[in-house]
Symmetry: C2
Subunit: 643 residues, 2 copies
């Protein structure tokens, strides 16, 4: 795992060989610069993304306790028998607090920050940092074979193949740590001086302990006066110089998100977040926003007739912006509710006391256009807007757009579409579809980062809302639009970095092309569908109603099945799946959007199958009929009434 | 400049030596993989952050025009006389569209993406990419001296010190481009075959043309059949393999933001945005949010009595959340308005029709507690809340907190404080100060990224709002709080990456310590104040009222002064300053918050002085008295009535 968040520092030791220098301090409180070396070490850990530093204390523990008071991310755990036990006993102490992979350090080290960056960027699990020759006279030599550590010794002669010298900084997985503490429980009975290095060696025959060698790393531990002097005169100044020149760098690992957004992103979109600091009131930033606004409209072929208005918010924020800004106070909106997001539109209207007429059907049921037409006709004088969700991710249904919008057009009703989970995933022609307001966000099929949402508005309609008295400030659509139009700036502080990521994501969308993305997503879905069928899973929706961007799957009835267990099994292997929503708790959901490849889906299916086999969960491949559809009576028993 | 956004590709050429192969296509449409080499080149440009690709076309221009139709980030400019002119004439064609530094490429290249990454990461301006020996038989050798390019030639003998071989990819500043087009206007009169390489050589004696050599870069131009074959058999497969292994990387340049937020951030906070994709409904993310919520409270010493509620929004969003959620429908809020942000609170209340009683004084005037006490007493039955801005950045005034909050406490009124621009910059004890709701955002003195805001709520007060009927959805404080408390998840999709950056920023805050940050900010202000005084600038506010985080400065009356000119002069040198707000247009503003050092302020002052000298702007150092204060009559003439 790259970029671990915890660190454990072994700081219990007595420092016998430095008695004259320490004056009753622990070794970590030796000082060469402005702060004790332990504080410098902590600062380096924080710099490389550590959030949680556990120091195992013993000798003069109160020094470290004061650090824990000063820094909220530091906590201390006492090793009561430190004076008579080895380092492995100390390392067992924080077991209840070690939640994840961690960096393990000794407290008496000075080192370049590059040492931590190297381990944090390394894809190798259980990785020990080695250096070239130090001549410290106190070296721990590390023997290696086949890229693995095999033994360690202070005696060079005991090593066959020399990997390098042990620095005292390692990256340890939680699994290895559990093995280490188990082994230590036994070993310490015989040998209270059992050291963590010995423990690693003992485990190395069964568990791969890797290493990373940094040839010219400047570092030393401070164990005696000779080390002190060399540190003071040579090594510390060298570290200071090199650290000041070290450029921050970051590696990421690929995880496959199968939840319905935020979707998996490309690494280039991730790194697009890293930009020079910029004030968003600068023209340079205004130009960026303007380009994005135009391209968001271009994606749905809005030409010059539409304007995009952006908000720093989740997608729900933009839905709220639209509903609260465009429905005249004396009019109503007809809201179609066949899932959680239709329901949410009703909640928004309830809050603001916007009049709404509801078309409520069971979640997952397809719309009946005739019924909607009847409602529209019946309330003809009252209804100004029709609002619906395009791809309702509650069940993965794709709601019919054009029949409804043409119906609305005939009756002079404007159309609001929540296209959160279809925009840029399914080709949409906003003009042909007769949509007046389309709402979406940056973190779904467009494959940008969360924190930005937008409404693509028919300019003619938007201009008409100018005279509606605003009923809020932040989400008023017209005012946000007017502010940008007049000032070429966002009305409120935008999430600057998320904009740059969206810029990159849009470029990558155009590079893939509308057709290219639609085909890729369709392929991801096909591979998933076939694979799930082969495994014997059943689907909630009939094929014809599926958006094919998210699939709701009936959970196995087997008692050996538990969603959370399946989730965790897959999560550990790099795949994130999603539970059912609301009353549809007997399903789980797999979204096939984002920067995914066919191979990702195949890999997912392989792991899913392995889980089923391991848990001996039996599916019934013969029962493959879909169970929710307009005429499915079985569906009605599974899907409870939504409102 | 690192990470330029434009690219110019020279694609006009005839490709005479490839007649048999081209079949009426331009050279960019040769194809080795799935797409023509020009499309592969464009994809690499997009991958490295280019937004705007200009292709200069000539021979078979319609091929490129089709690319421009396919990709919105591509545009084509024809070079009408391409058949009889050299490359420099072509390079002059896009002059009206070249807005910034850009990458210059030839169209007939195949190359590793690393070539672009190297130039994009290089701090060297005007940088030509060179390679080691290619043996292509068509080499352009580049002569160098003192780290600068001095000449280029196809004849090895003409080069004294060989820097390497010209690849045909360069980073050109806008300034150099202007010199090139000017020189070309002359040179082309005599020599229509003037090449861009010759132009660079001609300018190299007066302008530094740098180079970057990549020894083992895999690349070739395709000029003849020999190149074709070598590309097909060797180089293209090598490029494909290496590109698939290339890790995305990104360098940033330091800019000093002196606007009142988003503030300058550390590089470690910037890189903290780059994380593995994660679904924010995962426990791992919930834990991150929980840790941040606790630490946000800890920063203002709220102990267990307060809860932080976070929103994906700008700071204004959180102010709106607070006002719209906590004032009972039958009560009023007393709003103190002595600046734009006090006024904004009134606008929010107007939108929602929340009753408010206004204490309006001139922007920049200090509060008169007696007057506020009179209002509170007068409307005692009606007022449930008092709302004010702590540090009003309109003028940089620090509004009195504790006198007012104790007054409010006596009268049973709860206190809402917009501490947007003071939180984590000035030590605040939320309990001692008697604050019930404190609103702030991630991108000011806490030094995180924009896109996140929060309200720190006294839990006892927040719990009481449970029964107030919500008047919106997204910003309802209690519901957001309850959702997180019950589910350990944010109610609406959070800006995932901005959370990780805030985590890092908070860690760095604690590392610096509350006192450390306060002292650093105070020092930044002192250096600024002394420097501005020495230059003869005058300040809007009397010292005693200044927050000392943002300074409002009276603009020079000199006709040679113009804010936009001064801004642009400093912006080009890496410093962003800020105009006055609203009616206070005769000021400009300098914030001294963010990851800044004393040296940054000193550097800023040096550039500011250079600007004044260059423009011969005279200030009157003798007139140093502050001109706005409670008893300043002059102030009243400058500061117009705000409401």
């Amino acid at each position: 795992m790259v970029n671990v968040r915890q660190a454990v520092i072994l700081g219990a030791g007595l420092g016998c060989r430095l008695n004259g220098v320490l004056n009753g301090r622990p070794k970590g409180f030796l000082q060469f610069g402005r702060r004790p070396i332990i504080e410098e070490s902590i600062a380096k850990l924080i710099r490389t993304g550590i959030n949680d530093v556990i120091i195992v204390t013993g000798y003069c523990f109160e020094f470290y306790d004061r650090l824990a008071e000063k820094y909220p991310f530091v906590r201390t755990i006492q090793s009561p028998e430190f004076a008579t036990t080895g380092s492995m006993m100390s390392l067992c102490m924080p077991a209840p607090w070690v939640q994840s992979d961690f960096l393990l350090l000794e407290s008496d080290l000075i080192y370049e920050v590059r040492a931590l960056q190297t381990l944090q960027s390394s894809a190798r699990e259980n990785c020990i940092l080695l250096s070239g020759k130090t001549g410290s006279s106190d070296e721990v030599y590390v023997g290696v074979r086949d890229n693995r550590v095999v033994n360690m010794s202070k005696c060079r002669g005991a090593i066959e193949w020399l990997g390098g010298e042990l620095v005292g900084i390692s990256k340890i997985t939680r699994a290895l740590y559990q093995q280490m503490t188990s082994l230590a429980a036994e070993k310490c009975k015989q040998n209270r001086q059992y050291q963590y290095e010995d423990c690693l060696t003992d485990l190395s025959s069964t568990t791969a302990i890797h290493y990373h060698r940094l040839e010219n790393l400047a570092w030393t531990e401070i164990d005696n006066e000779q080390h002190m002097n060399k540190a003071l005169n040579e090594i510390y100044p060298l570290i200071q110089r090199r650290d000041s020149e070290t450029v921050v760098s970051k590696h990421v690992e690929r995880r496959v998100l199968l939840n319905p957004g935020p979707a998996t992103t490309t690494d280039t979109v991730k790194y697009a977040l890293v930009v020079d600091d910029i004030c968003p009131r600068e023209k340079e930033f205004g130009d960026l926003v303007e380009g994005i606004r135009q391209d968001l409209v271009r994606i749905v072929h809005g030409g010059d007739a539409y304007e995009a208005v952006l908000f720093a918010s989740s997608g729900t924020g933009a839905v709220e912006a639209c509903l609260s800004s465009v429905v005249p106070h004396d009019k109503s909106v007809l809201i179609i509710n066949n899932g959680a997001y239709g329901k949410r539109m009703q909640q928004i209207c309830d809050g603001y006391e916007i009049k709404h007429i509801d078309y409520d059907i069971d979640w997952g049921e397809p719309l009946e256009c005739n019924a909607i037409e009847r409602l529209l006709t019946q309330h003809r004088q009252d209804i100004s807007h029709l609002a619906l969700v395009h791809h309702e991710t509650t069940v993965g249904i794709l709601n019919e757009l054009s029949t409804l919008s043409h119906l609305a057009e005939r009756l002079g009703v404007e159309v609001i579409v929540d296209a959160m989970s279809s925009y840029a995933g399914i080709p949409i022609d906003i003009k042909d579809s007769g949509i007046h307001y389309l709402v979406a966000s940056a973190n779904k099929c467009i494959q940008g980062m969360a924190g930005l949402s937008f409404v693509i508005c028919k300019t003619e309609s938007l201009e008409k809302t100018k005279d509606i008295k605003p009923i809020n400030l932040y989400f008023n659509l017209y005012q946000n639009y007017a502010y940008f139009s007049h000032k070429h700036e966002m009305q409120f502080t935008p999430p600057v970095q998320v904009f740059y990521a969206l810029r990159q994501a849009i470029n990558e969308y155009f590079l893939e092309t509308e057709q290219g993305r639609a085909i890729r997503y369709a392929t991801l879905y096909d591979v998933l569908e076939k694979g799930l069928q082969a495994l014997g899973f059943r689907f909630l929706l009939e094929t014809e109603y599926r958006a094919k961007l998210l699939t709701a799957i009936i959970e196995p009835k087997d008692t050996r099945y538990a969603f959370s267990e399946m989730h965790d099994y897959l999560y550990e292997r790099g795949f994130t799946i999603y539970p059912g929503k609301g009353t549809l708790q007997n399903t789980f959901r797999i979204a096939t959007i984002g920067a995914l490849t066919e191979q990702d889906i195949v890999n997912f299916l392989v792991h899913l199958e392995a889980y089923l086999v391991e848990k001996e969960i039996r599916l019934r491949p013969q029962q493959r009929e879909p169970i929710v559809g307009p005429r499915s009576s079985l569906g009605r028993t599974i899907v409870e009434q939504a409102v």
